[in-house]
Point group: C2
Chain length 184, copies 2
Amino acid sequence: MTAPAPWRPPGGRVGEIVAAARRVLERDGELTMHAVAAELGIRAPSLYKHVAGKAALEAELVAVALAEMGATLHAALDAGGDGRDVDRRAALVDRLLAAYRRHALAHPALYRLATSGPLPRHLLPPGLEDWAGEPFLRATGDPHRGRALWAFAHGMVVLELDRRFPDPAVLDRTWDEGATAFAR
Amino acid sequence: MTAPAPWRPPGGRVGEIVAAARRVLERDGELTMHAVAAELGIRAPSLYKHVAGKAALEAELVAVALAEMGATLHAALDAGGDGRDVDRRAALVDRLLAAYRRHALAHPALYRLATSGPLPRHLLPPGLEDWAGEPFLRATGDPHRGRALWAFAHGMVVLELDRRFPDPAVLDRTWDEGATAFAR
DNA sequence: TACGCTGGCTAACAGTGTTAGCCGCCGACG
DNA sequence: CGTCGGCGGCTAACACTGTTAGCCAGCGTA
């Protein structure tokens, strides 16, 4: 039912560097060429023998993030129909939003890296971005509604991560509010 | 009907620095102490005679951004009732979203500065944040729904600014989709 | 007149990303 | 078996961040 992600993780030394960068990002919350090199026991300039620059390294991480997020969302929807049936749409949207929130909050720094700022599309495998966003189309059955739902989910996650809401305890109800609004 | 913003723009040399910082931010899209100083015809270290640091200067700009955005949103809602009347809610939400989008896209860098990353609340005038967010409560008549609507609007703006949507031409319909979803 | 504050300045430092250029190791090939 | 070449490290250095220390000119006031 779900097509696999159009993406293969890099191997060799580049793969090790990307893995180290991911560990650094999730540990420190930020990415530094110096920290990545230290994680590998080498010096920062040596990284440039394998990676074009920080932007290219970040693009690799964006690909990782999109692939994992896409896999999570597709899995959450699988065995649930395609949302054109209005009765099932509410359940699909619920599951999609829950999976989105859970995944994003579990990998805050990676999520931020992948979703804030302009996408380096020229450095990304073609089709990956669309594939990762597909679940919103599947759940809503309409591209406009899908994008709107995505915007809601992204806004919620980013505001929650930034502690923008006064009281984080009541956020569940805010998510529910959006879910019912988009599931009618 | 609308209470004035709990905020007064800084005067004196600090006011000039904040104004210069705003010009730099809106011109270059980013803020640099060097650029702010150059805009004033002085050297970067001299700024520290008036401002505690870059974070404090950014906080001043965040206050400006919140005050202006709040004023815009309150004005868009004024003379429109309070949204508890279901018939008028759709119109209120429409006007609120239109004003939000217009204002944010007109001041992209300022909007980003004020809405991304954690808020430096301890450097902000008390009450300003709540006042700026009030229109969402006014338009929806419910705090949870108000926050959800805000998340949608913020997500849309930020994704639009980052050119995250494939085709920017059809975004009007995506906004409408969210408006109708939240206005039922 | 002299004191001291205001608001500039230069020099310097640590931390970014990045480039240039050097070299040791190791596999392959004559 | 020797030599050659490239892979993958290294140090030094540069430009650019924010920021601190310390100096000094001017000016109002005691």
